[in-house]
Structures are given as structure tokens and as C-alpha cells.
């Protein structure tokens, strides 16, 4: 994989291309971009057939091992990698250990073992085992295994452990990577952790850069454990982190950010030169029955809410599309009233229609961002998006996040104990 910077402003924001993928020679992924989150190898809720109605060009797929581990035997039998096995060979894959936006129980580390939380419960995994699976998956891009699923507010001891463990894990990954024939076309990405303490984070980055010749990029982690609470970070603090870490990374490396960040925060990250985001945000909205409806025209003053909660009975007789003028399949064919009905009756088509819209619209947010960066008007665009999102936050009282988090952890613990695959899949009840 090659990363080519096409335009970089003095502020830091930049547009670039990811190209030269061995399996998809013609594929070009323009950055800044967001990947599409997969679950069990498929883009969440969408078959290949439906995905092709949303995107006609190759996209970056985010493939957490934690939700796709059961594919290993099949991928191995076929021998052509995870994308082909999941029917998504027209796209580019980026594999990682966890979905950073999913909450997992804390702790459970053992010497050399990292806990991987799957639907079947906890599986302990070493860096070697991780790389064994990666040799089978042969993704186009591979995030090193790390102990980075922690918040900025963790204690010093936890953060030190995180950095130390991740250092050892990375060394193994690099060693395996360098000696692997099957992974020679794969791009390796080092994971930054310890973000909560400057000094620890510096250590982490310094160590990462000792492997610089083998790395195509870095991924910023160690900021969230997936909880809503951990995502609430003061603007200034975030800006400092995005800025200072970005500046300490050589510009030729592509910069990833893991986590379920909202559009306003994504804009800030882009401003400081971060290139690739995981796709957990639109997928979280979809699962909550929400639709993103940002206005991208900077000349327009927009009073409408930029997020619709389609569970709301107020949409029962609203025969407009989610977003007037949106070019996605859902908005061209279906109404808010129909989606409200599907949510109300717990029909699976609700998440399909919402995924189509949210993925399209989220992708458009990046398309517009790239356009504005190229024409040096990104600051105007950023302000336009941030304003809309802040207005939404002011108008809609957000329910207690800590309560929500408690539920999530409870569920995760239950899964861990019961080992029951079906327990968490309500549609089959």
C-alpha cells in the first residue's frame, strides 16, 4: 500500500490517496475517509447486493477480529483472505483486534495474553496467535495487536501497563510481519496508546517509530473504552491531543483514529491531519434508530436538527424522506413514516434502510471535507458542521450516558458468563 498526500494545508488538514493494494490494483481510497464497520465479515446489516446500491467504488472495510473470529476455519479453507470469503472482494480491508466503540469488561489480562471479547465470550489471545490469524485473513491493512482499550482518565498504573504491554505486542507483530510471506502485501499500522499521560504516550510513539521502516501508519487509540462517558472529552484537551500527537508523527505515515467519535470531533481531528476513521459512528446511529441529516452547503443556514430519532411517533405521518435532496436509495424511495413503522414493528428492514442512509450520508461528509480541504476552505466547512452538531446537542437532552454504559457492561458480562451465541440476538426470539 502507498499513501500519497495530494494536498496539505499549513493548518494540518490534508487530502491523500491510499493506493497500490495488491488484491485491488485499481482501488483508490481518498482520505480523509471513514471505513465501513463490518460484523462477521459483512458490512453491518448489509448484503453485498445492497451494499452495491450504496457504493459503486471500492471502500475501506473495518474488520475487528473480535466479531469475525469464527470465520477463521472457512477463510483458511478457501485460502483467499477475509474479503473474498465474506463476498466483499471488491473492497479494501483493514483488520484490528476489537471494535473500539464496543464496551468490554475491564482487566482479564494475563502474561502475554490479551482478552478478546467475542459473542461467544472471552478468548485469550497472544500476539503470535493474532498474527497467525492475520496470515489467514490477509487483510490489506493490519493494525498491530495492542492493549489500548482504555480511557484518558485511567490511573497511571493502568496506562503504564497499557504502553508496556503494547510495546511487547508490537515487537512480536513486527517480527512476524517482516518474516511473513503471506503478509508482504499487507500494510502494518502501529497503535498509539497511553494517550492519557503525555509522557507515557511519548514513550509509546518513540517506540513505534523505532519500527518506522515497517510501518505504513499509526492508529490513535487509548482514548476510549467504548463507553459514552469516555467519549466526553473537553474540546481543548482533544485539540491538544490531536495536534501534539499528529505533529510527532512523520507526515508520510497515514494516521488512523479508532473510536465512535461524533462529527464535530471528527472535524477537529481532520483539521490536525488525521486521515482515516473507523465506521462505528453511523453504525451506532443505525442501531439506535437514528439518522444523520447534516447540511453540507456552507452557504445555507440550517435550522433543522442534524440527527433524527425515527423511533419518535412524531414521524408517524411524516411522508418526507429522511433528508430532502439526499441521493441515497433510502431517501429516494422511502419515507420517515415508513421507517418509523419498521422500527415500531421491529422489522429488519429498518436497520437496512437506516444503514443505507447513514453510510451514504457519513461518507458524503468526508467527500465534502476533502473538497473543502483541496480548495482551502476547510475551516468554514468545519465550523458549519460543528455548529449543526452543537445545536443538536443543545436541543436534545441526552439521556444519562452512565446508565446506558451500565447496561452495556452488564450485557457484555452476561455474554462472557453464558457463552450463549443466541442470547444477544433478539431478532430470533
Amino acid at each position: 500500500m502507498r499513501f500519497i498526500i495530494k494536498h496539505a494545508s499549513c493548518g494540518g488538514e490534508r487530502v491523500g490517496n491510499l493506493t497500490g493494494f495488491a488484491k485491488m490494483k485499481t482501488a483508490v481510497i481518498e482520505t480523509p475517509t471513514a471505513a465501513l464497520l463490518t460484523q462477521g465479515g459483512s458490512v453491518v446489516h448489509l448484503t453485498v447486493d445492497v451494499l452495491s446500491k450504496v457504493f459503486t467504488s471500492p471502500h475501506l472495510l473495518w474488520v475487528p477480529l473480535s466479531n469475525s473470529a469464527r470465520l477463521e476455519i472457512g477463510v483458511k479453507a478457501q485460502g483467499e483472505g477475509i474479503a473474498k470469503f465474506a463476498g466483499l472482494q471488491g473492497h479494501v480491508t483493514c483488520a484490528t483486534l476489537h471494535n473500539a466503540s464496543e464496551m468490554t469488561p475491564p482487566g482479564h489480562f494475563e502474561a502475554n495474553f490479551v482478552p478478546m471479547w467475542t459473542k461467544n465470550g472471552k478468548k485469550m489471545i497472544t500476539a503470535d496467535r493474532y498474527m497467525d490469524i492475520m496470515e489467514i485473513y490477509t487483510p490489506d491493512i493490519l493494525l498491530a495487536i495492542a492493549d489500548s482499550h482504555i480511557t484518558l482518565n485511567e490511573g497511571q498504573k493502568r496506562i503504564s501497563k497499557s504502553v508496556e504491554r503494547s510495546r511487547v505486542l508490537l515487537d512480536t507483530c513486527v517480527n512476524r510481519y517482516v518474516n511473513s510471506k503471506r503478509l508482504q502485501d499487507c500494510a502494518l499500522i502501529g497503535v498509539i496508546t497511553g494517550t492519557g499521560i503525555n509522557e507515557k504516550c511519548d514513550h509509546c510513539i518513540k517506540h513505534l517509530l523505532t519500527h518506522k521502516e515497517h510501518l505504513n501508519g499509526v492508529a490513535l487509540s487509548g482514548m476510549t473504552d467504548g463507553s459514552e462517558e469516555s467519549l466526553k472529552i473537553e474540546k481543548d484537551k482533544l485539540e491538544t491531543i490531536f495536534k501534539s500527537i499528529s505533529e510527532s508523527i512523520p507526515s508520510e505515515l497515514v494516521k488512523f483514529i479508532e473510536g465512535c467519535w461524533t462529527p464535530d470531533i471528527i472535524m477537529t481531528a481532520i483539521q490536525y491531519g488525521w486521515d482515516v476513521f473507523d465506521g462505528s459512528y453511523p453504525s451506532k446511529l443505525t442501531n439506535a434508530g437514528q439518522a444523520l441529516a447534516l447540511n453540507f452547503d456552507v452557504d445555507k443556514n440550517c435550522d433543522e436538527l442534524c440527527l433524527l430519532d425515527l423511533n419518535d411517533v412524531r414521524y408517524k405521518e411524516d411522508f418526507r424522506p429522511i433528508l430532502e435532496g439526499c441521493e441515497c436509495h433510502t431517501c429516494k424511495k422511502h419515507t420517515r413514516a415508513y421507517i418509523q413503522h419498521l422500527l415500531n414493528t421491529r422489522e429488519m428492514l429498518s436497520t437496512v434502510l437506516l444503514s443505507i442512509h447513514n453510510l451514504h450520508h457519513f461518507d458524503q461528509m468526508f467527500v465534502h471535507a476533502r473538497r473543502h480541504i483541496a480548495s482551502s476552505t476547510f475551516d468554514v466547512y468545519k465550523l458549519h458542521i460543528v455548529k449543526q452538531y452543537e445545536r443538536y446537542k443543545q436541543q436534545v437532552p441526552i439521556e444519562s450516558d452512565s446508565e446506558k454504559d451500565k447496561d452495556t457492561v452488564q450485557t457484555a458480562k452476561k455474554i462472557c458468563v453464558s457463552n450463549d451465541v443466541l442470547e444477544n440476538v433478539s431478532i430470533f426470539k
Binding site: 446500491k53 470465520l71 478457501q78 465474506a86 463476498g87 459473542k119 405521518e317 415508513y338 413503522h341 428492514l349
Partner: protein, 395 residues
Amino acid sequence: MGSKSQALLFHIQAECKTTRSRAGLIKLPHYSVKTPVFMPVGTQGTMKGLLPEQLEELGCEIILGNTYHLGNRPGTEVLEKIGGLHKFMSWNRALLTDSGGFQMVSLLKLAEITEEGVKFRSPYDDTEIMLTPEKSIEIQNCIGADIIMQLDDVVQTTFQDYDRIKEATERTSRWLDRCLKAHKRPSEQSIFPIVQGLLNKELREKSARDHMTKNVNGFAIGGLSGGESKDQFWPMVSLSTGILDKHRPRYLMGVGLAIDLVVCVALGVDMFDCVFPTRTARFGCALTNKGQLNLKQKKYETDLNPIDNECTCSTCKNYTRAYLHCIVTVETVACHLISVHNIAYQMRLMKTMRENIEKGTFPQFVKTFVNELYSDGNVPSWVLESLNSVGINIR
């Protein structure tokens, strides 16, 4: 006796010289439907996670909606405002709705049936509701399907009390008259009467003969596929199709297993519906001519074949059994993928039957089909007997 209103025109395009099967075209206000046809069931105005566009691509020409569910949610007010279910769900082809009676009796333990209608407590707000023939038609008029069903007096198929069956059969005829009288949109929607009588020959014959005297565009055969044995089932179908005139379409309710479809087409049925192909998909069951594959089984773990090599659906083009094995009953995508295949299977089976009827090769097709399905030679006796009754000798 031809079709009386423009809401439905039925043309028979080819008839089998051996069996009672025929290939035809039902012209409906929203679409012309080729028969024999299988109609997938989209209970609440959606087909188990599939886009209307995908259903079109799969070749579905008519699908079902359930009056009971749609009347509750989104409700007639919403449907009226947007101009019917077609617009609400963005489906431009034909629709058929049931009367709502079946759901009342099967879902609601407290339903009480009187001459007036079906009285029950709403599971949504616990109020007492009376579903009369007039009310059923009023809701169906509002939903706006091309074909609508009369409210019938539903009795469990295996029920044995003669008096009750007789009452239900006769009441169904009386309710038909009330339905026809209450029908507000006869130029856009056709009411089908439902032949009742359960497993009783005389009652079923009388029901069919009663309905034949009515000014209707087609007939439904009800009260079957409810737990009775196949030996009891097929003679009732045969009896009904033998009486119902051949110039109007015949719809056998609730039947969708491949072998049942083949036998009943041979017996002269034109239309079928069943939740089975999409319901079984949710449990990881895929349909093929050799029987069903339960993709959860470990033997598919490394099976790199598609579900069916001969199938051209998007699932078979893009996915292996091994991949589906990994995600069935875990990811929603697996439901969608197997539903796509199973609907494609049903559509392909009906299309193959149609083509064979047109070519005059239907009996040969039936023999090949039966022998492939029961490749061990153990063809069930009811299949042999029913096919024999229309001139196909499998052995």
C-alpha cells in the same frame, strides 16, 4: 363465467394435456402476474429485511400483506393519508391481503366468533374489538391491495365437531355476501371467496358450489395446511379445483413447500402463499431441489460451494456455504442472504413449472422433480396417489 370487472382479468395461456395444470396471466391494477405463482408473505408491509427493489429483482410479481397487523400498525389513518400500502412501502407491483380472521383465531386465545363477526381483545391496548365482514373489507379497501379476501369463519383444520364445521362453512358463505355488499372499490380490488369445509367432502363441495354462484373474479381454497395429514390434504384440494371453474384463478392458502407446490399445480391451483421460505431462512435453512440444507450443521464449515450451483441469485453468486455457516443465526445479514436465496428458489420453481406447462412437458418435469427430491426412491404414497389421480405415474 368470465371476469366481471376490470380489477382482474385472467387469461389461460397454456393448459397441460395430462394434468389439470395451466399457465396463465392475471392482469391486476398494479401488475400482470404470471401463474402459477408463489406469493411471499410480507406481514407488516415489508419482506424480512429485503428492499422492494430486491423483490423485483428476484422476480416477485405479487406479495402478501396481513390485514390484522397492518390495521394495527401503521393503522388505517396513516395508510389512507399516504394512499395505500403500495405507496407506504414503495412497492409498485401487485399486492394481496388476507381478511385478518386467521390471525385473530390463531394469535388470540380470547377470540369469540358470533354471527356478527369475530370479537377479541386488542393485544395492543386491551380494548374489545369486533371484526365484522364489513370492517375487514373497510380496512382492506384502505390498504388497497389488488386482491382482497373475504372474512371467513376459521376453524382449526383438525377440528372434529361436525356441527361446528358445518356452521363455519355456512357462515363463511353468508359473510361472503356481506363482504361483497360492503366492498367500496370493486373496480380496483377483487374479493376472493374462501372455500371452507375443512376435511369434510360434502361441506367443502357445498362451499365451493355456493361460491361459484357469486359474481367474483377468483377463488381461494382455505381451511387446509393446518396440521392435517397429506393423505387428507390433497383430496380436498383436488375436490375444490374440480368444482371451481377453470376460467378464474384458484388460490390455495398457506401452502409453500416445494413438493406441495408441484402436486397442487398438477391439481389445478394457480396461486400460493406461505411464510415458510422466509421463516426457515431465519433458522439457517436453505431450499434446494434436493431438499433443505441446514447451514448451521458443522459439515458446511469448509464447504466452499454456493447453496445451489444452479441458482443465479445474488447469494449463490457471492457467498459460500462455509461463510453462511459462520453467520447464520448470528448476523442479520444471514437472514437477508438466505431469504434472498429461498425466495429465488420458490420463484425459479414456479417459473420452471410455467415453462414446462407452456412447452407441454409438465408431466415429465414432475417425474424428474419427484425423483430428484426423493433420490432414495422412497416417494411418499400421497405424492404417488395425488399425481396418479391427474394422470402422472411416477413409477
